[in-house]
């Protein structure tokens, strides 16, 4: 079966009316949840190359293929560079693709990552977040996925296995929307999400078919019946206009994401707000901001501090690209100080802060009410961020809010041995 056939064999079903909700509950890890989404999206071409923690997804997907639950081309490449190149080409001919990696494996594919976004191919990837070698380390850091933040990739961070499954389905719908045609990476924290099993609602095929239309590349599909050239050599004569188009696509992705979440919420009865999750923010005087499974200790800490009457809230950034600028401006408009907890680093950057803190400062600079923004670097290499760590950080944020503490022109390393 050629990939072209594979891409055209599905019936068009985007207009199907709402299907009754029918889901099974399964005890699965975040990686297995992603594999279920891949199965339900009926992906055509999948490439794999092992690296921990992403390799768990590849194990689950290959088992599904072996069990006959998923009919696709499953190719084990000889390196990550080829792994991503193969799906890039498959995507160009109209195949729905899935791929993934972790840490320096993702970096080994970097050339392919750049051209995929440049070619406007809707590749969906899972990044099992892992510290960049050296030194060899398995634990989570966000710098791997964040490295593509300027290239046109959409980037999402999830905090539960359920959210991983749901977000992967949404990712296909948004990435493959002709208004967008951009690749999308779903980041799952290594260990805490990829290797942890919880009960997950796995929707029926009919439900997913009612939400996720087929991938139609239309007259941009590379095919003998549709003679086109893609990826020509251009120079100063064309390139800037092409970049502007990508910029426009990244802008349009916002609206398409909102549409997709609206529809997902209607059809699945969950999904929440598209870009951010607000936790106890209604009357918050200070806020913490973070991504991924960091949400767990932060929420526990927020509840403990609330019990003591401290008005603190939490905003979890679900999509880093497109960056939720209006949502964050609105959500943080009433707080006096913000503590951004980055599970990443940006050595030598402004105030030596984390990547999220730097982007958040930029987003809030033109806001009418500008809270103080403090940057905390925590949990690198998978180090646990404890509830007490979060409570300590929050005290520093309250001090800044009162005007007595930091003016925000520095960053704090939390949980590092002195």
């Amino acid at each position: 079966m050629s990939t072209v056939d594979a891409a055209t064999r599905k019936k068009s079903d985007s207009d199907v009316a709402i299907v009754p909700r029918s889901e099974t509950e399964e005890l699965i890890s975040g990686s297995e949840a992603i594999a279920h989404a891949v199965r339900l999206a009926d992906v055509d071409v999948i490439t794999a190359y092992p690296i921990r923690p992403y390799d768990t997804v590849m194990q689950y997907v290959s088992k599904m293929v072996a069990d006959g639950a998923l009919d696709c081309e499953f190719i084990v490449a000889e390196s990550e560079h080829s792994q991503f190149e193969i799906v890039k080409h498959a995507s160009a001919v109209g195949a729905r693709v899935f791929v993934g990696s972790s840490g320096v494996g993702w970096f080994y594919a970097f050339e392919a990552l750049a051209v995929t976004a440049g070619l406007r191919l809707p590749m969906v990837a899972m990044v099992g977040n892992r510290a960049l070698d050296d030194p060899g380390a398995f634990g989570v850091e966000h710098n791997d996925a964040l490295a593509v933040r300027d290239l046109g990739w959409m980037l999402s961070w999830v905090s539960t296995a359920q959210e991983a499954l749901d977000t992967a389905l949404i990712a296909y719908r948004v990435a493959e929307d002709p208004r967008v045609f951009l690749p999308c990476a779903i980041s799952c924290d290594g260990a805490f999400l990829t290797h942890s099993q919880a009960m997950v609602k796995v929707p029926s095929q009919a439900m997913v078919d009612g939400f996720l239309p087929r991938y139609e590349r239309g007259d941009k599909r590379l095919h003998p019946d549709n003679p086109i050239t893609i990826a020509p050599q251009v120079n100063e004569d064309w390139l800037m206009e092409m970049r502007r188009q990508s910029d426009q696509a990244a802008r349009r992705a916002r609206d398409v994401l909102i549409e997709a979440y609206d529809d997902f919420n209607a059809k699945f009865g969950r999904g929440g707000e598209p870009f951010i999750e607000r936790y106890m923010m209604e009357d918050a005087e200070v806020a913490l901001v973070g991504m991924g499974t960091m949400a767990m200790p932060v929420k526990v800490a927020v509840r403990k501090m609330r019990e003591q009457g401290k008005k603190v809230g939490f905003v979890r950034v679900r999509w880093f690209r497109p960056f939720p600028t209006p949502e964050l401006q609105e959500a943080l408009a009433r707080v006096h100080a913000v503590g951004v907890i980055d599970r990443d680093f940006s050595f030598g950057s402004a105030f030596f802060s984390g990547v999220l803190a730097n982007d958040l400062r930029a987003a809030l600079y033109p806001a009418r009410n500008r809270p103080k923004i403090l940057s905390f670097i925590a949990g690198l290499g998978g180090r646990e961020v404890s509830t007490n760590n979060v409570i300590e950080m929050t005290k520093t944020v309250f001090d800044a809010a009162s005007g007595a503490g930091s003016d925000g022109q520095d960053s704090y390393w939390v949980g590092v041995r002195g």
Binding site: L27, G139, A191, F192, S196, T293, M296, V385, V416, R417
Partner: protein, 380 residues
């Protein structure tokens, strides 16, 4: 407070499914009681490696909020029960590199239960288990280290037997009824349910005093601060020669002082220096460079470097010169060459005692076809 948590300590890779099945069983049984549960592996070293000490955890709670405390942790402390799927792990484990040796009962809460699958006596296990400093209980489910759950291995019901025993020693986490109900889903399985019930009936636990057990101080490292660490990822080697008096003229490789993995070992080589021809095959083939060259040219397996793979035994051309013996037979890591050079007669007696009465090997087979023989023995 969560209702409870269970730690399952096992050896990768062959016991990975067993550990996973136990933890999934806890979660499914807890759901029968309207509680919620999660299961996760101790992440860091790879359980895909043969013999590596590894862990799974199951956590049971009444609400999602309670559960959240456990959702981004590596190792919950104060577990209600620690299940040990291979009794050689009672000596402790250090699979995650730089943290030293973790006593098997370290993450068990005071008054909790250490549940071990073993054919050994309680006293023999307590000899190996480090003193906890607080009283706890020891319960034994009779049986060898099982590979149950691995598709090519016989299913000896180790998972459900441990779950049945768990319901006895920690009924507040899951009841036997819930365990049986979970076993019978999605398909009724009377045999497995009977195994769980039998283990529930048979398991007995005894109290272990705070100061009972192995009094050795577990290997521990000082973790340096960022201002104390050497820059550029440099780790200085340990010049072992300086530490071994009487070794002048021999060769001991410089080893990373903070990276020892000997709890991966389930058996160790016992060497007959009287028949050794000094051919050097063991030294050459050892994947962990664990053989030191003694001043007289013999090869001494360093027990702080040996992972117990048995390659030296396999490549040794002299019959019965190197014999792999279950770790159960040893209480320390002393140098066999030094024992031998001090007292050759005494060493011969020691060696003969270790190699003749050696207990069954754990986590590995001695020769091709051994498993088939074991199965045949059981059917006889």
């Amino acid at each position: 407070m969560a209702t409870g948590s269970v730690e399952v300590v096992y050896r990768g890779i062959f016991q990975k499914n067993l550990a996973k099945n136990i933890c999934r069983g806890v979660v499914f049984a807890a759901r029968k009681e309207g509680k919620i549960g999660i299961a996760f592996g101790r992440y860091s070293d790879s359980p895909e490696r043969n013999g590596i000490p590894a862990k799974q955890f199951a956590v049971v709670a009444d609400t999602e909020e309670e559960m959240e405390e456990y959702l981004s942790r590596y190792e919950p402390e104060n577990n209600d029960v620690t299940i040990v799927a291979d009794d050689t792990l009672c000596k402790g484990l250090e699979s995650w590199g730089w943290n030293g040796l973790q006593p098997i009962n370290k993450l068990l809460k005071a008054g909790g239960t250490l549940l071990v699958t073993s054919t050994r006596s309680a006293n023999s296990l307590i000899r190996d288990i480090h003193r906890k400093g607080a009283p706890y209980n020891l319960a034994i489910v009779k049986g060898p280290a099982s590979f149950s759950g691995m598709w090519v291995y016989k299913d000896d019901h180790s998972d459900v037997r441990l779950l049945g025993a768990l319901a006895k020693v920690a009924p507040h986490i899951v009841s036997l009824d819930s365990i049986v109900a979970a076993i019978n889903e999605p398909k009724k399985n009377d045999l497995k349910a009977a195994s769980a019930k039998q283990a529930y009936d048979l398991v007995a636990s005894m109290e272990v005093d705070a100061n009972q057990g192995n009094d050795a101080v577990p290997l521990k490292f000082e973790l340096p601060g960022w201002t104390e660490m050497e820059e550029c990822l440099v780790i200085r080697g340990r010049d072992v020669k300086q530490e071994v008096p009487g070794w002048e003229g021999g060769f001991v490789p410089g080893r990373n002082p903070t990276f020892r993995k000997f709890s991966t070992r389930t058996m160790r080589p016992v060497i007959d220096f009287d028949t050794c021809t000094k051919c050097g095959f063991c030294w050459l083939q050892c994947p962990d460079t664990s053989f030191d060259v003694a001043p007289d040219g013999y090869y001494d397996a360093n027990m702080e470097a040996c992972c117990g793979c048995g390659i030296c035994e396999a490549v040794c051309p002299v019959e019965k010169c190197i014999t792999m013996v279950n770790e159960e037979a040893f209480t320390d890591n002393q140098s066999q060459w030094q024992m031998w050079s001090k007292d050759k007669k005494g060493y011969a007696a020691w060696r003969s005692e270790k190699t003749s009465a050696q207990p069954a090997r754990s986590h590995g087979f001695h020769h091709v076809g051994q498993y088939a023989e074991e199965i045949a023995d059981e059917h006889r």
